[in-house]
Structures are given as C-alpha cells and as structure tokens.
C-alpha cells in the first residue's frame, strides 16, 4: 500500500487564549484515511487543538496544515466537518430540518439528508423535534449534521459521551467504515478503552504532546493491556520526569 499524504500536519503549533498558553508547541502528523484518537485528561487542550484544526481558533505560532492548506482557509470549509462536544443543533427544529439546513451549506440533496439520518439510526425519529429526543439521540443529530456534507476530514469532540455501550460500538463501526472509504477522522475521548479503535493515538497533556503511538505501543509502553492503566503509567512517568527536572534545575 502506498503511504497516503498526511491530512493534518502541525509544526511547533502554539495557541494562546487570553495570555495563557493552551498549546505549547506541538509537532505531529495525522494520516489520511485513518482514525486518529486524541486522548488526554480534561483541560489538556484537546478541544482547543480541534478548534484550531477546523479553523475557528487562531494560531499564535507555528504551522498547522490541513488537507494541504493552512488551517482556517476558506476552501477547507467544504471539506472539514466538526462535531462539537455539546451538540450544536437547533433544538426547536426537527431532526430532518436540522440536517437539511446544515446540508444546504454544502449543496446537499434530499437523498444526502436521508442518508445522513439513516447513518446515525434516527430514521424513525426524523420528524421529531430535536428537543424531544434523549441525550444520546440529540448528540447523534449533531453527528448527522456533519455527515451530510461528506467531509474529507471529520473532527469529533467526545462523540461517544453519554451513549450506551451498544450505540458506542455502532458508532465506532461507522467510523471504521468511513475511514475505509477514505475519510480521515480525528476523535477525542477521555475513555481510554475507545483508544483501541484508533490506528494512531495522540496523547496530550497540559498543552504538550506526551507521545504519538499505536494502541499496541501504548499497551507496551504503559506495561498494561488495560489502556487506561497504561495511559496513567505514562502520565505518572511524565510527571516524575517533570519533577526531577525541576529538582535538578
């Protein structure tokens, strides 16, 4: 298989918000047509990084290239889909009307709308008002609003929060199918067991990249098959390293 060009490339990426540094110099690449997991404790800068990639967060220093263009450039708006952490849909509109509206921004057809709704399993609820749905259904409306545009890069901020195990499994199957069809996915999560679904992992902590590795490597480096425990081991090791360097300096 020929290596695909990188979908996202960051070099010394820094982002500051109201004078505090959120991202403190990141270097990484995200492969096209793969699922990349973005993992880290809350407050580590996951959402800020995702917002920078989709172009709504200004970069202070360094470079961030998305699908071959600088992040935030106008042509990318056709190709990058973003599902925010809190479902950003119109709660007073029906599922269908929501998906149709976001689809209209990309010239999507009625068939695209129906397909996106089916993809998240909400066909039977298409005419229901989003506000009347359960939490899990509500967040799937938000996902459908991104799928309708058939993005080349889909950025998902904690898409499985609040979903039951069956739905979570279904969603990961869908993501895998999308990646197989050539879509690049960047998925953030703080549930470590989900890391096994990704082909590459970015471990973020306190605005710095701890490591970029595969789930197998994570298990190896953290000396545990339990990815959550492996992650904690790596974090603790990093903490000790930091303390030691502070003591010696």
């Amino acid at each position: 298989m020929t290596p695909l060009p990188a979908a996202i490339e960051a070099t010394r990426l820094q982002v500051s918000r109201s004078r505090s540094k959120i991202l403190k110099g990141l270097d990484f690449t995200v492969d096209a047509g793969r699922i990349t997991g973005l993992l880290g404790p809350s407050g580590s800068g996951k959402t800020t990084l995702m917002r920078a990639i989709v172009g709504v967060q200004r970069i202070s220093q360094g470079n961030l290239t998305v699908l071959g263009r600088p992040a935030g450039s106008a042509p990318l708006r056709h190709d990058v889909g973003y599902v925010t952490q809190g479902a950003s849909v119109y709660s007073d509109l029906s599922v269908q009307a929501n998906v149709r509206y976001f689809g209209a921004m990309h010239g999507a057809t009625a068939a695209d709308t129906a397909e996106a709704i089916a993809a998240v399993g909400l066909e039977s609820l298409a005419r229901h008002k989003a506000a009347d749905l359960s939490g899990g259904q509500f967040s799937r409306v938000s996902l459908a609003c991104a799928l309708v545009a058939h993005p080349k890069l889909l950025v998902l901020d904690e898409p499985t929060v609040g979903l039951d195990p069956v739905l979570r499994a279904e969603l990961w199957e869908r993501f895998a199918a999308m990646a197989a069809a050539g879509t690049t996915l960047l998925v953030s999560s703080h549930v470590m067991e989900e890391a096994s679904h990704c082909s590459s992992l970015l471990l973020l902590r306190d605005g710095l990249l701890l490591a970029q590795l595969t789930p197998t490597e994570l298990a190896g480096r953290g000396r545990s098959e339990d990815l959550e425990r492996a992650f904690l081991t790596i974090i603790k090791a990093a903490d000790r390293g930091q303390e030691e360097s502070q003591v010696t300096s």
Partner: protein, 247 residues
Amino acid sequence: MTFATTTRVLGQLRHDHRSVALILVVPALLLTAVYFLFENETLPPGFPRTFDRVGLMMLAIFPFVVMFLVTSITMLRERTSGTLERLLTTPIHKADLLFGYALAFSIMATLQSLVATAVAYWVFDLDIKGSPGFVVMIAVINAVLGVALGLLCSAFARTEFQAVQFMPVVVVPQILLCGLFVAREHMNEVLEAISGVLPLTFSVDALKEIAGNADATATMWQDALVMGGIVLGVLVLASLTLRRQTR
C-alpha cells in the same frame, strides 16, 4: 444559503405557536388600548383625533421593538448554543446569515403590521390622508431596523438577561425622542440634535408626511431612503461582530 437560513429561522418560529401569536396579536391589542385611552377626548371641530396621530406612530414603533427583542434573543441563542460557531466552519457567507435573518423577520413584521394596520383602519377608522400601503412599508423598514440593531446588540451580550437590558439603552431613547411625546421643534437643542440622528425619528417624520398628504411626498421617500441606509450600515457593523476565528 440565504433562503435556507430564512426557511430555517421561520421553521423555528413555526414550532413556537405562542411566540407567533404574541408577535401577531399583541400590537393590535395595544392599539386597541390606545384607542380606548383617547375615546372620550373632546375636540374642537375639524381637529384630528389623538388616536390618528399616536395610533399611527404606534403602528411603526411596535414592529421595531418586537423585532429588536426577538432578533437579539434568537441570535444570542445561536451564539451560545454553538450553532453559530458550527455554521461559520461551513462555506456559509456572513451575509447569507444576516440577510437570511433579516428576510425571515421582515416577513413576520409584514404580517404583524398588516394585522395592526387592518385593525387601525377597519376597526378604529384611522383617519389619515395617505395610503395604508405606505404605512405598512414604513413599519416593515422599522422592523428591519429592529432586526439589524438586535443582531448587532446580541454581540455585546453574554446572556439573555443582558440582551434584554439593551432594550432601555437602544430602544427607549429612540421612542422618547422620535417626536411621539413632544414635537421635535419643542425640544431643547441638545435633545433635538440627538433626535435628529436617531433612525426612528425619520420613520415618524415619514408617517407625518403620509398622514398629511394624499400622495407620497419627496420628504417621505427621503426619510425611507435614510432609514434604508442606516439599516444597511447597522447590518455591516453586525457582520463585523461575526468572527470566524477566536483569538
């Protein structure tokens, strides 16, 4: 995308029967109150009723106030719910969004002023020389002004509570100084000067022209044009508050 936005905004309103009812019925009810307020006034023969003056101006002021409130809250919700940020990651143009909003609420405003004007004419025999069509036109321009100012003000409010507080700041001074309570020529110089640059003053002036003349006058068209210019200016300012990127 402008029309998609208009359809979406109207779709949101359509599900909200209570708001639609409030928008359409309240101005007519308040107009009724104004009519009965002046019901028993004694007038020298040939002197116009107060209702013909005040009621007419109310027809233009209601849409302005209502649309200002409706728009600033709706737009604020769009900002706080994350849908605005999401929209701005799509190819939508800011103008599509703003004009989509302006168009949707102008349609509502047209319906509202048709109801209110019909009640004023047929129920309370509003007596003016000019055509009711022009009254509706001025009312709609006023409504769009309310929409534009609401879009702009929503940028400076973080919560719905704050957004509502902009009404006394933006709307009330215009009502006080537009010439409804005291004719502009009787104001002191400072107030008259302020009044001269407030948009609502132009619409009251235009309504006086409509009331006093059977045909459209040049002054009325001039007032309408100034209003249109102000609306466009405010919409441009509002578009500057829509940032695709946060710092």
